[in-house]
Protein backbone atom coordinates (compact mmCIF):
# COMPACT_ATOMS: atom_id res chain seq x y z
CA UNK A 1 0.00 0.00 0.00
CA UNK A 2 1.41 3.41 -0.91
CA UNK A 3 1.53 6.34 1.46
CA UNK A 4 -1.20 8.16 -0.41
CA UNK A 5 -3.44 5.15 -0.17
CA UNK A 6 -2.79 4.89 3.56
CA UNK A 7 -3.96 8.44 4.17
CA UNK A 8 -7.17 8.19 2.21
CA UNK A 9 -8.16 4.73 3.48
CA UNK A 10 -11.88 4.97 3.75
CA UNK A 11 -12.25 2.68 6.77
CA UNK A 12 -10.01 4.80 9.01
CA UNK A 13 -10.57 8.48 9.44
CA UNK A 14 -14.11 9.79 9.33
CA UNK A 15 -14.06 13.53 8.61
CA UNK A 16 -16.35 15.82 10.64
CA UNK A 17 -19.52 16.97 8.95
CA UNK A 18 -22.67 18.98 9.52
CA UNK A 19 -23.95 16.17 11.73
CA UNK A 20 -21.43 17.17 14.42
CA UNK A 21 -23.51 20.28 15.06
CA UNK A 22 -26.68 18.34 15.91
CA UNK A 23 -26.40 18.32 19.66
CA UNK A 24 -28.71 16.17 21.77
CA UNK A 25 -31.23 17.76 24.11
CA UNK A 26 -29.87 18.81 27.48
CA UNK A 27 -30.87 16.45 30.28
CA UNK A 28 -32.21 13.57 28.21
CA UNK A 29 -35.57 13.79 26.49
CA UNK A 30 -34.64 13.72 22.86
CA UNK A 31 -37.92 12.97 21.13
CA UNK A 32 -37.59 13.91 17.49
CA UNK A 33 -40.21 15.19 15.10
CA UNK A 34 -40.25 15.60 11.34
CA UNK A 35 -40.73 18.93 9.63
CA UNK A 36 -39.93 19.84 6.00
CA UNK A 37 -38.23 16.46 5.56
CA UNK A 38 -35.78 17.01 8.40
CA UNK A 39 -35.82 15.61 11.90
CA UNK A 40 -35.62 18.00 14.81
CA UNK A 41 -34.99 17.37 18.50
CA UNK A 42 -37.85 18.35 20.78
CA UNK A 43 -36.37 19.84 23.92
CA UNK A 44 -33.83 22.23 25.32
CA UNK A 45 -30.51 22.21 23.48
CA UNK A 46 -27.17 23.83 24.22
CA UNK A 47 -27.47 26.72 21.72
CA UNK A 48 -30.79 27.76 23.30
CA UNK A 49 -29.17 27.92 26.72
CA UNK A 50 -26.30 29.92 25.23
CA UNK A 51 -28.71 32.47 23.76
CA UNK A 52 -30.24 33.08 27.18
CA UNK A 53 -26.84 33.10 28.85
CA UNK A 54 -25.52 35.66 26.35
CA UNK A 55 -28.49 37.93 26.95
CA UNK A 56 -28.00 37.67 30.72
CA UNK A 57 -24.23 38.29 30.44
CA UNK A 58 -24.64 41.36 28.22
CA UNK A 59 -27.42 42.82 30.37
CA UNK A 60 -25.61 42.04 33.62
CA UNK A 61 -22.29 43.50 32.51
CA UNK A 62 -23.68 46.79 31.28
CA UNK A 63 -26.07 47.08 34.21
CA UNK A 64 -23.21 46.70 36.68
CA UNK A 65 -20.90 48.92 34.60
CA UNK A 66 -23.42 51.75 34.40
CA UNK A 67 -24.91 51.51 37.90
CA UNK A 68 -22.30 53.49 39.80
CA UNK A 69 -22.10 56.36 37.35
CA UNK A 70 -19.30 58.67 38.39
CA UNK A 71 -17.84 61.78 36.84
CA UNK A 72 -14.44 60.13 36.91
CA UNK A 73 -15.14 56.62 35.63
CA UNK A 74 -13.79 53.55 37.39
CA UNK A 75 -12.25 50.69 35.46
CA UNK A 76 -15.52 48.86 34.79
CA UNK A 77 -17.36 52.01 33.81
CA UNK A 78 -14.49 52.94 31.50
CA UNK A 79 -14.76 49.63 29.65
CA UNK A 80 -18.55 49.94 29.43
CA UNK A 81 -18.39 53.49 28.12
CA UNK A 82 -15.72 52.58 25.61
CA UNK A 83 -17.83 49.70 24.30
CA UNK A 84 -20.91 51.89 24.11
CA UNK A 85 -18.99 54.68 22.44
CA UNK A 86 -17.64 52.31 19.81
CA UNK A 87 -21.10 51.28 18.62
CA UNK A 88 -22.61 54.73 19.09
CA UNK A 89 -19.93 56.76 17.32
CA UNK A 90 -18.05 54.63 14.85
CA UNK A 91 -21.02 52.54 13.70
CA UNK A 92 -24.31 54.36 14.30
CA UNK A 93 -23.36 58.02 13.95
CA UNK A 94 -20.92 57.62 11.07
CA UNK A 95 -23.29 55.50 9.00
CA UNK A 96 -26.81 56.73 9.80
CA UNK A 97 -25.84 60.37 10.21
CA UNK A 98 -25.95 62.77 13.13
CA UNK A 99 -29.62 63.70 12.64
CA UNK A 100 -31.45 60.35 13.04
CA UNK A 101 -28.97 57.97 14.62
CA UNK A 102 -29.95 58.32 18.28
CA UNK A 103 -33.17 56.33 17.88
CA UNK A 104 -31.35 53.25 16.57
CA UNK A 105 -28.37 53.19 18.94
CA UNK A 106 -30.01 50.93 21.59
CA UNK A 107 -30.97 48.35 18.97
CA UNK A 108 -27.58 48.31 17.26
CA UNK A 109 -25.74 48.33 20.57
CA UNK A 110 -27.68 45.38 22.00
CA UNK A 111 -27.39 43.51 18.71
CA UNK A 112 -23.63 43.96 18.51
CA UNK A 113 -22.86 42.70 22.00
CA UNK A 114 -25.41 39.91 21.85
CA UNK A 115 -23.82 38.56 18.64
CA UNK A 116 -20.29 39.17 19.92
CA UNK A 117 -20.83 37.22 23.15
CA UNK A 118 -22.57 34.41 21.28
CA UNK A 119 -19.67 34.21 18.82
CA UNK A 120 -17.05 34.27 21.55
CA UNK A 121 -18.75 31.26 23.12
CA UNK A 122 -17.06 29.29 20.33
CA UNK A 123 -13.68 29.97 21.90
CA UNK A 124 -14.65 30.15 25.57
CA UNK A 125 -13.46 27.00 27.39
CA UNK A 126 -16.20 24.64 28.61
CA UNK A 127 -18.75 26.20 26.25
CA UNK A 128 -16.91 25.90 22.93
CA UNK A 129 -19.91 25.99 20.67
CA UNK A 130 -20.82 28.94 18.48
CA UNK A 131 -24.52 29.57 18.97
CA UNK A 132 -24.94 30.91 15.47
CA UNK A 133 -23.56 27.78 13.84
CA UNK A 134 -27.18 26.64 14.15
CA UNK A 135 -28.90 28.32 11.25
CA UNK A 136 -32.25 28.70 13.01
CA UNK A 137 -30.77 31.03 15.60
CA UNK A 138 -29.51 33.34 12.86
CA UNK A 139 -32.79 33.43 10.95
CA UNK A 140 -34.38 35.04 14.00
CA UNK A 141 -31.83 37.84 13.98
CA UNK A 142 -32.19 38.31 10.23
CA UNK A 143 -36.00 38.57 10.48
CA UNK A 144 -35.60 41.11 13.27
CA UNK A 145 -33.21 43.17 11.13
CA UNK A 146 -35.57 42.95 8.16
CA UNK A 147 -38.51 44.19 10.22
CA UNK A 148 -36.45 47.00 11.74
CA UNK A 149 -35.04 48.48 8.55
CA UNK A 150 -38.23 48.11 6.54
CA UNK A 151 -40.26 49.46 9.45
CA UNK A 152 -37.98 52.46 9.76
CA UNK A 153 -38.31 53.17 6.04
CA UNK A 154 -42.10 52.76 5.99
CA UNK A 155 -42.45 55.08 8.95
CA UNK A 156 -40.35 57.71 7.23
CA UNK A 157 -41.73 57.54 3.67
CA UNK A 158 -45.12 55.83 4.00
CA UNK A 159 -45.84 52.37 2.60
CA UNK A 160 -45.89 53.13 -1.12
CA UNK A 161 -43.36 55.90 -0.81
CA UNK A 162 -40.95 53.47 0.81
CA UNK A 163 -41.32 50.89 -1.93
CA UNK A 164 -40.81 53.58 -4.55
CA UNK A 165 -37.75 54.76 -2.62
CA UNK A 166 -36.24 51.27 -2.45
CA UNK A 167 -37.12 50.01 -5.92
CA UNK A 168 -36.99 52.98 -8.31
CA UNK A 169 -33.44 54.25 -8.81
CA UNK A 170 -33.30 58.03 -9.34
CA UNK A 171 -32.65 59.34 -12.82
CA UNK A 172 -34.06 56.26 -14.55
CA UNK A 173 -37.25 56.32 -16.61
CA UNK A 174 -38.87 54.61 -19.52
CA UNK A 175 -38.45 50.94 -20.37
CA UNK A 176 -35.36 50.49 -18.21
CA UNK A 177 -37.66 50.58 -15.20
CA UNK A 178 -39.21 47.26 -16.24
CA UNK A 179 -35.76 45.72 -15.93
CA UNK A 180 -34.51 47.56 -12.88
CA UNK A 181 -37.51 47.60 -10.54
CA UNK A 182 -37.70 43.81 -10.06
CA UNK A 183 -33.92 43.67 -9.67
CA UNK A 184 -33.89 46.38 -7.04
CA UNK A 185 -36.83 44.77 -5.26
CA UNK A 186 -35.00 41.43 -5.18
CA UNK A 187 -31.76 42.98 -4.01
CA UNK A 188 -33.11 45.42 -1.43
CA UNK A 189 -36.08 43.56 0.03
CA UNK A 190 -35.71 39.82 -0.59
CA UNK A 191 -32.00 38.94 -0.71
CA UNK A 192 -30.73 41.20 2.08
CA UNK A 193 -32.02 39.18 5.06
CA UNK A 194 -30.88 35.94 3.39
CA UNK A 195 -27.27 37.06 2.91
CA UNK A 196 -27.30 38.68 6.35
CA UNK A 197 -28.27 35.37 7.93
CA UNK A 198 -26.08 33.15 5.75
CA UNK A 199 -22.99 35.28 6.27
CA UNK A 200 -23.05 34.97 10.04
CA UNK A 201 -24.17 31.35 10.03
CA UNK A 202 -21.64 30.11 7.47
CA UNK A 203 -18.72 31.92 9.04
CA UNK A 204 -19.44 30.42 12.44
CA UNK A 205 -20.24 27.01 10.98
CA UNK A 206 -17.24 26.78 8.65
CA UNK A 207 -14.83 28.12 11.25
CA UNK A 208 -15.93 25.62 13.85
CA UNK A 209 -15.86 22.79 11.30
CA UNK A 210 -12.29 23.74 10.39
CA UNK A 211 -11.25 23.58 14.04
CA UNK A 212 -12.87 20.16 14.47
CA UNK A 213 -11.10 18.95 11.33
CA UNK A 214 -7.66 20.10 12.50
CA UNK A 215 -8.15 18.64 15.97
CA UNK A 216 -9.49 15.25 14.87
CA UNK A 217 -7.15 14.97 11.88
CA UNK A 218 -4.12 15.71 14.03
CA UNK A 219 -5.25 13.21 16.62
CA UNK A 220 -5.75 10.55 13.96
CA UNK A 221 -2.34 11.16 12.39
CA UNK A 222 -0.55 11.00 15.75
CA UNK A 223 -2.31 8.14 17.49
CA UNK A 224 -3.69 5.94 14.71
CA UNK A 225 -0.98 6.24 12.05
CA UNK A 226 2.43 5.97 13.69
CA UNK A 227 5.86 6.66 12.25
CA UNK A 228 6.38 9.67 10.04
CA UNK A 229 2.75 10.74 10.24
CA UNK A 230 3.14 11.91 13.84
CA UNK A 231 5.10 15.11 13.05
CA UNK A 232 2.49 15.99 10.45
CA UNK A 233 -0.17 15.54 13.12
CA UNK A 234 1.75 17.85 15.44
CA UNK A 235 1.89 20.41 12.63
CA UNK A 236 -1.88 20.08 12.32
CA UNK A 237 -2.25 20.87 16.01
CA UNK A 238 0.01 23.92 15.68
CA UNK A 239 -2.19 25.09 12.81
CA UNK A 240 -5.22 24.35 14.99
CA UNK A 241 -3.97 26.91 17.52
CA UNK A 242 -3.21 29.45 14.78
CA UNK A 243 -6.66 29.00 13.22
CA UNK A 244 -8.26 29.34 16.66
CA UNK A 245 -6.73 32.82 16.96
CA UNK A 246 -7.91 33.66 13.45
CA UNK A 247 -11.38 32.53 14.52
CA UNK A 248 -11.40 35.03 17.40
CA UNK A 249 -10.72 37.77 14.88
CA UNK A 250 -13.49 36.48 12.61
CA UNK A 251 -15.94 36.25 15.50
CA UNK A 252 -15.42 39.92 16.28
CA UNK A 253 -15.46 40.89 12.60
CA UNK A 254 -18.74 39.10 11.90
CA UNK A 255 -20.50 40.78 14.81
CA UNK A 256 -19.16 44.10 13.52
CA UNK A 257 -20.19 43.40 9.92
CA UNK A 258 -23.69 42.31 10.96
CA UNK A 259 -24.27 45.53 12.89
CA UNK A 260 -22.59 47.67 10.23
CA UNK A 261 -24.85 46.26 7.52
CA UNK A 262 -27.89 46.76 9.76
CA UNK A 263 -26.90 50.40 10.16
CA UNK A 264 -26.37 50.74 6.40
CA UNK A 265 -29.76 49.22 5.60
CA UNK A 266 -31.47 51.53 8.08
CA UNK A 267 -29.54 54.47 6.68
CA UNK A 268 -30.55 53.57 3.12
CA UNK A 269 -34.18 53.10 4.12
CA UNK A 270 -34.61 56.44 5.87
CA UNK A 271 -32.44 58.59 3.58
CA UNK A 272 -34.21 61.33 1.65
CA UNK A 273 -32.27 60.93 -1.56
CA UNK A 274 -30.14 58.11 -2.86
Amino acid sequence: MTYAAAVVRSDGFTPPGPGDFDLPAVGGGGETFELFGQSFVLGLTKPMLQLVLAAVVVFGFFYVASRGRAMVPGRLQFIGEGAYGFVRNSVSRDIIGARDFAKYVPYLFALFFFILVNNLFATLPFVQFPTFSRSGMVYGLAILSWVVYNGAGIRRHGFFGYFKHQTVPPGINGPMLILLVPLEFMSNILVRPVTLALRLFCNMFAGHLLLILFALGGEYLIFELSGWYAPVGLLAWVLFIAVAFLEILIQFLQAYVFVLLNAMYISGAISEEH
Partner: protein, 72 residues
Protein backbone atom coordinates in the same frame (compact mmCIF):
# COMPACT_ATOMS: atom_id res chain seq x y z
CA UNK B 1 -2.84 1.61 -5.83
CA UNK B 2 -6.11 1.00 -4.09
CA UNK B 3 -6.59 4.46 -2.65
CA UNK B 4 -10.10 5.75 -3.06
CA UNK B 5 -11.32 9.15 -2.11
CA UNK B 6 -14.83 9.35 -0.80
CA UNK B 7 -16.71 12.57 -0.71
CA UNK B 8 -18.65 15.03 -2.71
CA UNK B 9 -17.46 16.73 -5.89
CA UNK B 10 -19.37 19.74 -4.54
CA UNK B 11 -16.41 20.47 -2.32
CA UNK B 12 -14.06 20.77 -5.31
CA UNK B 13 -16.63 23.02 -6.93
CA UNK B 14 -16.74 25.13 -3.82
CA UNK B 15 -12.96 25.39 -3.83
CA UNK B 16 -13.11 26.73 -7.39
CA UNK B 17 -15.97 29.06 -6.51
CA UNK B 18 -13.95 30.55 -3.64
CA UNK B 19 -11.25 31.80 -6.03
CA UNK B 20 -13.38 34.71 -7.28
CA UNK B 21 -14.32 36.16 -3.88
CA UNK B 22 -10.71 35.59 -2.75
CA UNK B 23 -9.39 37.77 -5.56
CA UNK B 24 -12.14 40.30 -4.91
CA UNK B 25 -11.39 40.61 -1.21
CA UNK B 26 -7.69 40.94 -2.00
CA UNK B 27 -8.40 43.82 -4.40
CA UNK B 28 -10.66 45.55 -1.87
CA UNK B 29 -8.09 45.50 0.89
CA UNK B 30 -5.27 46.44 -1.50
CA UNK B 31 -7.24 49.54 -2.45
CA UNK B 32 -8.00 50.23 1.21
CA UNK B 33 -4.34 49.96 2.24
CA UNK B 34 -3.08 52.20 -0.55
CA UNK B 35 -5.87 54.67 0.19
CA UNK B 36 -4.87 54.88 3.84
CA UNK B 37 -1.19 55.11 2.89
CA UNK B 38 -1.92 58.12 0.70
CA UNK B 39 -4.29 59.82 3.09
CA UNK B 40 -4.06 58.49 6.65
CA UNK B 41 -6.72 60.89 7.98
CA UNK B 42 -9.36 59.24 5.75
CA UNK B 43 -8.97 55.89 7.52
CA UNK B 44 -12.20 56.17 9.48
CA UNK B 45 -14.31 56.70 6.38
CA UNK B 46 -12.43 54.18 4.27
CA UNK B 47 -12.63 51.47 6.90
CA UNK B 48 -16.40 51.15 6.92
CA UNK B 49 -16.49 51.23 3.12
CA UNK B 50 -13.79 48.55 2.94
CA UNK B 51 -15.59 46.35 5.46
CA UNK B 52 -18.83 46.74 3.52
CA UNK B 53 -17.15 45.78 0.26
CA UNK B 54 -15.48 42.85 1.99
CA UNK B 55 -18.84 41.69 3.32
CA UNK B 56 -20.49 41.91 -0.09
CA UNK B 57 -17.68 40.03 -1.86
CA UNK B 58 -17.60 37.48 0.92
CA UNK B 59 -21.33 36.87 0.51
CA UNK B 60 -20.58 35.06 -2.76
CA UNK B 61 -18.23 32.64 -1.03
CA UNK B 62 -20.77 32.20 1.74
CA UNK B 63 -23.57 31.36 -0.67
CA UNK B 64 -21.15 28.92 -2.30
CA UNK B 65 -20.45 27.04 0.92
CA UNK B 66 -24.13 26.90 1.77
CA UNK B 67 -24.95 25.44 -1.64
CA UNK B 68 -22.01 22.99 -1.41
CA UNK B 69 -23.69 21.46 1.63
CA UNK B 70 -27.27 21.79 0.43
CA UNK B 71 -26.95 20.39 -3.09
CA UNK B 72 -26.08 16.72 -3.12
Amino acid sequence: MDGTINGSVNMIGYGLAAIGPGIGIGLIFAAYISGVARQPEAQGRLQSIAILGFALAEALAIIGIALAFVLS
